[in-house]
Symmetry: C2
Subunit: 391 residues, 2 copies
């Protein structure tokens, strides 16, 4: 196990009706004037926005609003949010929604206290300070409610890039599983896939002797395998949604990823797809992961065999571990298809002829030098082959 | 799953030589004058105390020292520590050692800012404020490095009681697995047992639909089963110690215990043993747990069968689930014996004739009304039978 530091100081309020605590929590963490940041209709239609506003008013916290966050959130709205916060003297960001709203709010929080272009943070500059931030989560997926990470897409060139820093970890996150009951089965399945990807990205490590984090990751994958089909079959299953929601947070606050190298190649390869086609990140991952895993499997057959046996319940083929490894990847893909995820480029809306462009942006975007690194270093030709396997 | 809040803001610095960061971390969390609080010889002999003092000096943090913490830490030293802190103007507690040093430091931290008798907190009064506190952990066991809990024994009547509050959660904890390499196999095994007990106490729940926390608890138990025998066989195995150390923290910061009722009857029943005989808490738990589990098994046979199958690798006996449940408890006890733990009163140094006194203190101590509650409510006669099963 490698040396590490771990710091997850977010206060989580989990359960039915917990959004009523939003006002008290903003106040507790020092906010006097909040920017409520959200996406579109569902937060309004469900009445969540009104309930949160009532809670802020009751706690004596004033607010301004900025809606319009889109999936794969854009830099344009971030610039708008930064201006608005400066003009209005906002001292707290309150994101309502999923990873998109939260990531956009994180970018604004960092940008308000920075003199330069906030995009610097998404090009590698460390985030040193940010306005405090809280969240009311409406989809279990990105894990942004408990993470120090944010992913934003820059309209020019459709570059999708991440930034990270303890300063943008939420001070509090409100997780009410009932708020996720209005999601479509497709959105729910995209979230499940994203959570599973966060777990696999950590599972694929080159660090030896990491039994505790291996076991924790496997535990969360087993939870998704148990609860995923239940919630797809019955969207109103509060209990299944609750288990998925806590697993989604634990999958990405890094308590199960500490002290080990991680992969993140599937995320990098997928980001080009959702940037170019504006497809759902989870759907892109469902197509990307099996291809990546098949391509890199030989790098550590036993690791894939371990996942197959411990997570997917495959029998170990001691004479042919690679058969077991393959069976595990097949089981993953079959599971994702069974919950309604796409299996190839066509179902995703991606095009074979775009592969050269995808590879170019992937391997040379934002200062990369012709490859991406992770569990295995992938050069241009590797990435091209992986995209071709997805066709 | 029940509604819950979860807040674990401790900064963890994990790995080799991390104790060198002690000074910087005290400063980062606002300390200018620390009380270094520790037990006896090992912290001195190993050179840890000197290294920590050097780190504080380098960071410009002054300090006073108070050693002498005993296992099952006593109220007498807490009173001394409170006086010392007040007299010296200490503004930060730095505990070196295991759960005993940390719990004693937590009691001092709360007592310094309180006008009354600190024991009030161990009789049910909520802790509202405390001096900030950091730890340098030298044994993986109590989980106090990441928990809001403290257990102290009052000399009068040898009452062993707990207190809890976010104010006494450590601001930082330094976990260097190499510092645990000097522990005897017996101490190491006691720590392993304590960690496993923290997991079982959470596993035994009456809350339905808790797949995610069930799986996380099982993951940590599987880690202990894998790493425990390795570290007993080879005390210098850094990697096994590292896995156990992170598992020990995760087992007790409650990330795997949220949203579910918990048991804690084994801890309560054991506390009377370590209070009366001053035996190691882990050793007491090794004798207590199998007896308690056999006694309460019928309350939820399927829960014990699940542990047997998922954790201990037992085959499910679908016609006779109680056989599987029993096999799991037997596997637990055999495991604990295999790492050197006692199996009965005699090996523990406890006496059958003391059972009436043990039951009385247990069921009527500190305001209890003739029973203890948890997974199952246990009355006097139940507790007597359980102690008798341990003879």
């Amino acid at each position: 196990m490698n040396n590490f530091t771990f710091y997850s100081p977010t206060y989580f309020a989990f359960g039915r009706e917990m959004e009523k605590e939003a006002g008290n929590l903003v106040k507790r963490f020092g906010g006097t004037k909040a920017l409520i940041h959200f996406g579109g209709g569902s937060v309004v239609r469900s009445g969540l926005l009104d309930r949160v506003k009532a809670s802020l008013e009751e706690a004596g916290v004033s607010y301004v609003e900025l809606g319009g966050v889109k999936p794969n959130p854009r830099s344009g709205l971030v610039y708008q949010g930064i201006e608005l916060c400066k003009r209005e003297g906002v001292d707290f960001l309150l994101a309502l929604g999923g990873g998109s709203s939260i990531d956009s709010a994180k970018a604004i929080a960092a940008g308000v206290l920075y003199d330069g272009d906030f995009w610097d943070f998404y090009s590698g500059k460390p985030i040193e300070k940010a306005l405090p931030l809280g969240t009311v989560l409406t989809i279990a997926a990105a894990g942004s409610e408990g993470s120090p990470d944010s992913v934003i897409t820059k309209e020019e060139g459709m570059l999708k890039r991440g930034a990270s820093g303890d300063a943008i970890r939420p001070k509090f996150s409100i997780l009410n599983p009932a708020l996720t009951q209005t999601l479509s089965p497709y959105q729910t399945a995209c979230g499940i896939t994203d959570i599973m990807a966060h777990l696999y990205e950590r599972y694929l490590t080159n660090t030896a002797e990491v039994e505790v984090t291996d076991r924790l990751i496997e535990a969360l994958l087993l939870t998704m395998i148990h609860e995923g089909p239940r919630v797809i079959a019955d969207p109103d299953n509060y209990e299944a949604r609750a288990n998925i929601m806590w697993a989604g947070m634990m999958a990405h606050n890094n308590s199960c990823g500490v002290g080990r190298s991680q992969d993140w190649n599937s995320h990098n390869i997928e980001h080009e797809l959702s940037a170019m086609y504006d497809c759902a990140h989870g759907a892109g991952l469902a197509v990307t992961m099996p291809a990546v895993f098949r391509y890199v499997m030989d790098h550590d057959v036993m690791r894939f065999a371990q996942a197959a046996v411990r997570v997917w319940g495959c029998q170990m083929d001691f004479a042919h571990p690679e058969e077991t490894a393959r069976a595990g990847i097949r089981a993953l893909q079959n599971f994702l298809i069974s919950i309604g995820m796409p299996k190839n480029f066509q179902e995703l809306g991606a095009k074979k002829e775009d592969i050269p462009q995808l590879v170019k942006t992937l391997c040379y975007g934002d200062g990369r030098q012709g490859s991406i690194s992770g569990f295995v270093e992938l050069k241009e030709e590797d990435c091209a082959k992986i995209y071709e396997m997805m066709v």
